[in-house]
Symmetry: C2
Subunit: 478 residues, 2 copies
């Protein structure tokens, strides 16, 4: 019988140390050889599937064999998010401190539904959320809760707004009722798709989401918002929530939160701010202004897993009144009743019952880098981004297509004598991505195929930006 | 300037190895001294908060200091889910292979929204889900998707059922419509609270959830289900989904899925099976029967993080028609369009866009233990549970309060001359939990305060069950 196939017990202590050390060495080497890999996996779809067995092994295997397959089979199928020339989507990165945090969370394996089942997770969550709130210069009335993703955070925010309507939707639902008007949520045309998914999930429907026109800099036009609300009220609809974005996905544009907050206060609407990406930038003193007006929001989402060197997943929802979330979701069956009367139980604030010990990795990251270390890294990303933007501006072959607010450049090639610039830029992007040397992604702005180049890796240096700039120009002339 | 406070870069390779080794050693030691700790943390609420600084440090700190605080501050605030005498809720446990999987996932830090951004995650997910499906003896038409928790899996299942109604709820929502009757979901009185939370979230409301009476063994009574559906149709309601449970949370009772499937087929209702806990048991040949009828379900949720030695979180939703989930949730904005036309993109199947590389840890676990190793462990847990149940049955001081189907015993003390058995058993539970030697939880069955003792730790041996049995009896006589 294979040694792993006993009736109980886990790996021996000696093996755990042996393979644990090997794993640590492998990871250390991985980070060193990161730039030897193509950024996007060079695999074609199903390449990995084809080489894996149809069924699980009957007998346990040696970890040596498993580990060898990581190198041989898994690694070629990895897209290297940590690569300094990963510029697609939003460039994010993990960090050693974050990895250690995940190791330890997986070890304790606590499920933080109740204070009792995970006191460390429950309390450290409050502590690191208070630390980050202070760093972002948000007022003390914001209390937070950690979820997995911004999609889930935003869904909970809109659910809390729905609950605040006091229309017994939690109890009676929305179907089969003649007393409910169409409920309306507002956001800009530039909003992230997670807002659409939230209203779909919540049963509000896509029709409930009214998208407001944006200005030349892709920011919601407050006057248009006010008009839409007024028009909707005249039509008998019920406006109840506005989602403003600080740092939209396409361009990192910043909605005018102050003007939107004025409208929300006047109209008594829940103001949710999606700062999933850009929230982290607010820890940098000279960027702090980006959250102006957000102190008046009802809820704000920010994702340390995006730009705070914390491994995925960790999304934070800050709420002015966390009790509203509890009102929307708390439901305590007999088997979860405990006698710690005053303790906060994480399960009360959302759909998920079990919750990972996510605060640990963020605590490690905040302590290891310190506020200054985090600020310096984000500041440097923004400096590199401005540098690249300046090169683009100076060149006749390239043009910026949106203002540079944080660490994303939206631009395109515009060489003379090219007829279809959209096709030209799409080809250019594909050829850069196929080279393996960098990964950039795209969006469409005013019908223009737009290249998006995001800078966010903890490993990125000026030379990497020079590399991608040279690569772009090389592909221009081919 | 502190060495961690530079403008870029992560921990040095030498430090990563040094602290990584220390982390591995610490974890190895932790598992060795596990039984020296109280199972439930002995902290009182706020004990941890009180000793942590108000704000994040300005300068980065040495990992030595951070690590020292894990031992000194975090550890006392940990509830030890891995302790072999953790018998509360459902006893779950992590494993070395699972921890290594999490280390590596946190290192790659891929977000598996698109095939392109995480080919390894996307394809390995399909592979391990096929492996587990075969082990559970489910038919090949079930295709799966990984979410974080069963709560989220079930919410997605009910959302797919809602979409299948073809009532344009995705597009038009449910508010402000006069053409929608009250939608109805059915489950037993013994259902998990996550079903309630799912209907609340989806905007169906608690009123939409009709709870069907159970029999003496806490199983849904199919005749009562049929009556309820018929009555609801007469009242103009619209039944669309039934949630059956294999392994309920209170007692691990098993709803009669075959009879329920008959009704669902006749009435054209979506059948979702909650096998979050007990699904893993189906890999054991002699327990396989517990899923009888589930081959006819539209969706089944099972959680490897519960009873398959995989660190939290990893919940699987198997669907007969995964396309229905895609129909309910897929929404591809311009910035996420890619040209891998035939590839599966995980983001299409749910609310979450980014998705962790969760399949890796399950792959490690399945390979390291093999099918036989996993089967043996679950079989042993069931053997120990039957053993404990036999001691309870033989004793005049104790009585079983529910059938033992898997690895949970529902029972209570019933010594002579005790007036209020409920208060007596609650005190007994509290005193055992306060002792630190074991953790048991409770439920209420037919008004009786019922002790729940779950056996599921990878480290549990017969001596631990003897320990807790002695402890129970010791507390009986005090």
């Amino acid at each position: 019988m294979n040694k792993n196939t006993s009736s109980s017990g886990d790996m021996s202590k000696a093996d755990f140390r042996r393979y644990g050390y090997e794993m640590v060495d492998w990871i250390a080497d991985y980070f060193e050889r990161l730039e030897d890999f193509p950024v996007l996996s060079a695999n074609a779809p199903n390449d990995l599937k084809k080489v894996l067995p149809e069924s699980a092994p009957l007998e346990g295997e040696s970890f040596d064999d498993i580990f060898a397959d990581v190198e041989k089979l898994i690694l070629p199928a990895v897209t290297h998010w940590n690569h300094p020339n990963f510029h697609g989507l939003f460039s994010t990165s993990t960090s050693a401190a974050g990895i250690f945090g995940e190791m330890l969370s997986a070890t304790f394996d606590m499920k933080a539904m109740l204070w009792r089942t995970a006191p460390a997770s429950t309390e450290l969550e409050d502590v690191v959320l208070s630390w980050l709130r202070q760093m972002m210069n948000l007022p003390a009335h914001f209390e937070g809760i950690i979820y997995d993703t911004a999609s889930v955070s935003t869904m909970h925010a809109i659910a809390a707004a729905r609950e605040k309507l006091d229309l017994q939707i939690r109890e009676n639902g929305m179907s089969g009722r003649t007393d409910l008007p169409l409920l309306r949520v507002y956001c800009s045309e530039q909003v992230h798709s997670s807002i659409d998914k939230a209203v779909i999930t919540l049963g509000l429907g896509q029709k409930s989401l009214r998208k407001i026109e944006t200005d030349a800099e892709f920011r919601m036009i407050p006057e248009k918002l006010a008009e839409a609300i007024s028009e909707d009220r005249q039509n008998g609809y019920l406006p109840f929530c506005v989602v403003a974005t600080v740092g939209t996905t396409s361009t990192t544009s910043i909605d005018p939160v102050e003007a939107i907050a004025d409208i929300c206060e006047r109209e008594n609407l829940w103001l949710h701010v999606d700062a999933a990406y850009a929230g982290s930038a607010a820890i940098v003193p000279e960027l702090r202004n980006c959250l102006k007006g957000c102190e008046r929001a009802d809820s704000i989402v920010t994702n340390p897993h995006k730009w705070l060197f914390t491994p995925f997943d960790l999304s934070i929802l800050y709420c002015k009144d966390l009790e509203m979330l509890k009102k929307a979701f708390s439901l305590v069956p007999e088997y979860l009743k405990t006698n710690e009367a005053t303790a906060k139980n994480g399960m009360d604030y959302g759909i998920q019952l079990g919750r990972r010990f996510r605060s640990l990795k963020l605590w490690f990251v905040m302590r290891y880098f310190g506020q200054e270390g985090l600020i310096e890294r984000i500041r440097e990303h923004c400096r590199l981004t401005k540098l690249l933007a300046s090169w683009i501006e100076k060149s006749d072959n390239w043009e910026l297509l949106a203002p540079v607010n944080f660490a994303l450049v939206c631009f395109r090639a515009c060489p003379e004598n090219v007829g279809d610039l959209n096709a030209f830029n799409e080809d250019l992007m594909n050829s850069i991505n196929a080279s393996g040397e960098a990964y950039i992604s795209h969006t469409k702005l005013n019908g223009k195929f737009t290249l998006r180049l995001s800078i966010g890796s903890i490993r990125v240096e000026e030379k990497h930006i020079e590399n991608v700039w040279n690569l772009l120009n090389k592909n221009l002339t081919i």
